[in-house]
């Protein structure tokens, strides 16, 4: 059973003025299996956030609007199950670390979802410890989340989502509001999550580096429809295509494109791949820049 099965999804938010409704998502089909790490990219307004909300049931239960087709998450149809019920299977992390947190301590924040599930207190305590160690915040257990840095807050939000041990983890631009240090902290958590093969991850991001580093599949949305669904490398090697869909091509990828334009078959997208390629072809032969 796939973790996510979306068939012919159509969704339009309730219109603000009595104009024609503009669909946020249309004719959308998507299937995600256990263990996959899917990156979702696209221009602003392409429907990425709406897709995240559709995966956890907020769309359509909390947003109203017109909903067509179906979204089935872990065997549950989101038309018949609201976000609270789906929370046992889907964990969500939103973009703004500040707005997602409310509790007086980190521990309470992470425990909230488990308390809602009615788990016994000793199980809750265990899961909280586990989740906090997964995100590297064990020693901040009793701190007030409002005193943490952006990266730490976002990690608390991730811990709160994974504590429920969902089969699907949805992250909506988790690093967009963070500084480079915070981004690195979240990146480390993502790396440890990727290693965990029981969960499927769907991450909306515009950052090519994150896509290159973590995703084994890239989905690009445009005007509510899927325009690309395949290996990230193929897309990352096409700077024009990335630009068109709102993703800034990684500088490394642009270098590869510049070399390819001169007839050199360079196909690297990450720093590691690039240095490997260059070492292989140049340094080995003792070639160096003329001074």
């Amino acid at each position: 059973m796939p973790v996510v099965l979306i068939e012919d999804l159509y969704y339009a938010y309730p219109p603000l003025v009595a104009r024609q409704e503009r669909p946020a998502l249309q004719r959308l089909n998507l299937r995600v299996e256990q263990g996959e790490f899917v990156a979702v990219a696209g221009r602003s307004g392409a429907g990425k956030s709406t897709l995240c909300l559709a995966l956890c049931g907020v769309v359509p239960h909390s947003t109203g609007g017109t909903f067509g087709g179906r979204v089935v998450v872990c065997g549950h149809d989101t038309r018949r199950h609201g976000p609270a019920e789906l929370s046992a299977f889907v964990g969500v992390v939103f973009q703004d670390p500040e707005s997602q947190l409310f509790a007086p301590t980190v521990e309470d924040e992470v425990a909230f979802g488990l308390e809602c599930q009615g788990l016994p207190p000793n199980v809750i305590a265990e899961r909280v410890s586990w989740a906090l160690s997964k995100v590297g915040l064990s020693e901040h257990r009793l701190r007030n989340p409002s005193y943490l840095s952006g990266g730490q807050k976002q990690r608390v939000a991730i811990a709160a989502a994974i504590a429920l041990q969902p089969r699907l983890l949805v992250l909506d631009e988790p690093t967009a509001s963070l500084d480079p240090v915070g981004t690195q902290e979240v990146v480390q958590v993502l790396a440890s999550l990727r290693a965990d093969q029981d969960t499927a991850v769907v991450m909306v991001t515009q950052e090519a580096e994150l896509i290159a580093e973590f995703a084994n599949r890239l989905v690009i949305l445009s005007e509510g429809q899927v325009v690309y669904d395949g290996p990230p490398e193929d897309a990352l090697l096409e700077p024009e295509f990335l630009w068109q869909h709102g993703v800034r091509p990684p500088a490394i990828g642009q270098l590869a494109a510049a070399l390819r334009r001169r007839g050199i078959p360079a196909r690297f997208v990450t720093l590691a791949q690039a240095s490997q390629f260059l070492r292989l072809h140049l340094a080995a032969e003792g070639k160096a820049c003329p001074l």
Binding site: L16, G42, R43, S44, G45, S149, A176, S177, D179, P180, V181, G182, Q206, E209, L242, W243, Q244, G246, V247, R248, P250, A251, I252, Q254, L255, A257, A258, L259, R261, R262, I264, L271, A274, S275, L278, R279, H281, L282, A283, E285, K287, A288, C289, L291
Partner: protein
């Protein structure tokens, strides 16, 4: 012509005792596009807030368009310095986009006709004309960001300060925004950009100031500051990817100062001769 901004031995200590800036000195010439970079807590925003008088120096002084910031109220400095904050929602309050854009110049006493001209110009430049009668609060985040920047540009500031303006924008929108900012600069404005995005900085800035723990540790052209791997690492910053690449392969003898993919490609291509 004297510089637009002169910062002399600026020290700033907050009431809780934290020393945010220690002896920063720099000047910003008219027509510059200066980027302020540095890790969180290095004092970038603190320094920027001195330029429109929101913060006053503990020691040293700051001159903006010849005025000493300690002697002039913020509202006066606001006529010369436009500050776009990180969160556009902190600025937005008007019932329509048009009103929002008109607020700044109106508050400064600009005659109504000219206010309308300026508003029309910025609506056009940012592609916001279809939304002129729409409440900005209901627009998506990327459009709200544009409204915020546009509403500062309608005040025709001499110095435009942008604090992380590209957060929440996709790549094309970032380009659009920076192009509008560059156009403002070409028309005679001066820009101070605070950003974490070193690639963006490398592309648009004419000069870079690197802050670390409240001190100015590097000031110069982007090719120099962004290529100084040791300097960036010492300041707690990760160098741009291509600079890291050059640093990883010293045996190739690459001149480290390159961070532009095209230039680097040009340099590497001939080496694949055989």
């Amino acid at each position: 012509m004297p510089p637009l901004v002169v910062v002399e031995e600026l020290h700033h200590s907050f009431p809780d005792g934290w020393d945010a800036l220690s002896g920063v000195s720099l000047s910003i010439e008219r027509g510059e596009f200066l980027a302020l970079i540095g890790p969180n807590g290095s004092g970038k925003t603190t320094l920027a807030k001195h330029l429109n008088g929101l913060l006053k120096p503990s020691h040293g002084r700051v001159l903006v368009a010849g005025m000493d910031t300690r002697e002039v109220p913020v509202s006066t400095l606001a006529r010369h310095v436009g500050y776009v904050f990180q969160n556009p929602d902190h600025q937005i309050f008007s019932p329509t986009v048009g009103e929002e854009l008109a607020f700044g110049p109106r508050e400064q006493g600009v005659p109504a006709e000219e206010v309308q001209e300026r508003v029309a110009r910025e609506l056009e430049a940012f592609g916001l004309a279809p939304y002129a009668q729409v409440p900005p609060a209901v627009l998506p985040p990327s459009l709200r960001r544009k409204v915020a920047v546009a509403s500062v540009l309608t005040t025709c500031p001499e110095l435009l300060i942008l604090d992380e303006p590209t957060v929440g924008l996709d790549a094309l929108e970032q380009e659009e925004l920076l192009q509008r900012v560059a156009a403002y600069r070409d028309a005679g404005g001066t820009v101070l950009l605070i950003s974490h995005d070193l690639e963006l900085v490398g592309r648009w800035a004419s000069r870079c100031a690197l802050l670390s723990a409240g001190r100015l540790v590097a000031l110069g052209a982007p090719e120099e500051v962004l290529a100084d791997v040791e300097g960036l690492l010492a300041a707690g910053m990760r160098p741009p990817a291509l600079v890291q690449l050059s640093a990883l392969l010293p045996e190739l003898g690459l001149p480290k100062r390159l961070f532009c993919p095209e230039e680097l490609g040009l340099l590497l291509a001939p080496l694949f001769g055989s």
